[in-house]
């Protein structure tokens, strides 16, 4: 191929885009649908305001550029607040009291912390590249990994205090050695990471002096040239998601000999996994053309399939993408008509839709809430009772 792969591809796509038809005017039917839709939205908003006033508990919290709204007759946390994340949401993570939102390309990458109780911005700091991993660890410390993209930037790992005021860092050499495919905080200042083996990365506590340590804990059973994709901590040990050089996905228990593993059928991709302790939940989606049916699968500590019938049979889970776990609840985003659903991790009870106005750029699940981050707003959705 002449020139670089990317340049040639970009040129071909630009040429194809030139062949797109000219924009035709917005049709009268489309205009009418917009008008009617907006009328309905305004009517619903008026009804909500009337409800709030009647309850006598309306509270609008306005702090600097953040506007938060609370549900009627509830002294609890706000249901939404405005943010400026139009530069792009890179990652979201939630702690018990704080929501962290990483935004923007290099050189404008930032990490912001918002109070979950009030929706107010606690602090926003500059990050030297786009965020690749963002996790809240035990004790509320914030783990942030960043790496360059096509816009540039540096590679590194930070551990920050919950208010983002203090930090410690692992420099480029350590961060590049890790590969940063996933990072799982285990203790207040150490996290499990994967490179050729499962390793322990220890950083000084935020703001404290000390050295960075990286030490291999246990080997990962590998089938040829595997690319490690994700990590999850089960009661029985670390589960690692591998993509083999044959394009097959498999989950293996780190350190197991012979390998305790779960392998997908050819053409299926494991897009996401999460552990509730005794078991591992895996989202599978087909990679290729053909019948498009994915599945959510539960694996036990021997990585044997033990999916509850209600989950295995649910039509809402045919197109799973990402999967989260919080307490007794599993939340799944899907590529189907119902973008967010949940169920109890015990498998008892139904798979339930979570009504979203729009699928967010990213979301975090913590406690009994789902925090959906849009370019202009954070919306808080309570986890339905049927899933708790």
């Amino acid at each position: 191929m002449a020139g670089s792969y990317g340049e040639t591809l970009a040129a071909a796509l630009a040429e194809m885009a030139e062949e797109a038809p000219a924009l035709r005017p917005l049709s009268p039917i489309a205009r009418q649908r917009v008008r009617e839709g907006r009328r309905r939205a305004v009517a619903a908003a008026v009804a909500a305001i009337v409800g709030i006033c009647a309850a006598g508990a309306a509270t609008i919290v306005g702090v600097s550029h953040v506007t938060a709204t609370r549900p009627p007759s509830s002294p609890g946390p706000p249901r939404s607040w405005s943010v400026d994340a139009s530069s792009g949401v890179d990652a979201v993570a939630a702690g018990p009291k704080t929501l962290y939102v990483a935004t923007g390309d290099y050189p404008n990458s930032r990490l912001s912390a918002f109070s979950i109780a009030t929706g107010t911005l606690i602090r926003s700091i500059h990050v030297p590249a786009a965020t690749s991993e963002l996790r809240v660890g035990p004790g509320g410390t914030v783990w942030l990994a960043f790496s360059p993209d096509q816009n540039g930037g540096q590679t590194g790992v930070w551990i920050l205090s919950p208010d983002l005021r203090l930090r410690s860092s692992a420099g480029t050499s350590v961060a590049e050695h890790i590969g940063l495919v996933d990072l799982l905080p285990i203790g207040p200042s150490w996290a499990a990471v994967v490179n050729s083996s499962l390793s322990e990365l220890t950083l000084p506590s935020p703001g404290q002096p000390g050295s960075v340590k990286l030490r291999a804990i246990v080997s990962i059973p590998s089938d040829g040239n595997s690319y490690m994709q994700a990590l999850a901590l089960m009661h029985s040990g670390f589960a690692v998601l591998e993509l083999t050089d044959r394009g097959e996905y498999r989950v293996v228990m780190a350190g197991s000999q012979p390998a305790v593993q779960y392998q997908t059928v050819t053409g299926m991709e494991v897009t996401s996994m999460t552990s509730d302790g005794p078991s591992l939940w895996v989202a599978e989606t087909p990679q290729l053309n053909g019948p498009y049916n994915g599945a959510v699968v539960r694996l036990n500590d021997r990585l044997q399939v033990v999916t509850p019938p209600a989950v295995a049979r649910s039509r809402l889970l045919r197109f799973p993408q990402q999967i989260w776990n919080s307490g007794a609840t599993v939340v799944v985003s899907t590529d189907g008509p119902d973008p967010l659903v949940c169920f109890r991790s015990s498998g008892a009870g139904p798979v339930t839709r979570i009504p979203l106005q729009q699928m967010p750029a990213d979301l975090a699940v913590s406690g009994r809430n789902i925090y959906a981050v849009y370019p202009d707003r954070v919306r808080v959705y309570p986890i339905p009772a049927a899933c708790q």
């Binding site: 191929m1 002449a2 071909a12 194809m16 797109a20 786009a130 996401s272 967010p360």
Partner: protein, 165 residues
């Protein structure tokens, strides 16, 4: 806040419509479908975002809706195969535009053979110039899925191009 008046609606449509149309066309390869898809996406976004304060965010919502609608269409209608046949006819009437024509034609052919998932990530990466993270945010996919789809797309394209030679 976006004014619900017709004038503001028109401005938003004229500002973002052409870009949305090019994106829809690249994703579906179907001119007529992409026109319908953009109108539908615009109605959905303009209806919901009555109180959008940050107008920069409008494009994010519109792009996401276009991609989602295109994704559903591709899944349902298997447009790839049909379009490939149409393109083979269209290729015969396309004029020469430069010395790299043969290469670009081969690349176009290779793009047409990508799966819908691969095509979407390739368009967002190499036409929209989004980062892997941003693609993941637009699609609602995990980052790893975006990376592996891009990797598989590159492999599929190399294979197609080798067969061309």
């Amino acid at each position: 806040m976006i004014d619900p008046s017709e004038d503001r609606l028109e401005i938003l449509y004229l500002r973002h419509g052409p870009q949305a149309l090019r994106l829809a066309y690249l994703l579906t390869g179907d001119a007529s479908l992409s026109e319908d898809l953009v109108q539908e996406a615009f109605v959905r976004v303009a209806t919901r975002l009555t109180a959008l304060r940050n107008t920069d965010a409008f494009w994010w919502y519109l792009r996401r809706t276009v991609v989602n609608l295109a994704n559903s269409q591709l899944r349902r209608r298997r447009l790839e195969r049909e379009h490939l046949q149409r393109l083979a006819v269209a290729a015969g009437v396309r004029g020469a535009t430069g010395p790299d024509l043969a290469t670009r034609e081969a690349v176009r052919g290779a793009i047409e053979q990508l799966t819908p998932r691969q095509r979407i990530v390739v368009v967002l990466r190499y036409y929209e110039d989004l980062t892997d993270r941003q693609i993941a945010a637009v699609l609602g996919w995990p980052l790893g899925s975006v990376k592996s789809a891009l990797h598989r797309a590159a492999e599929a394209m190399r294979q197609s191009l080798r067969q061309e030679e």
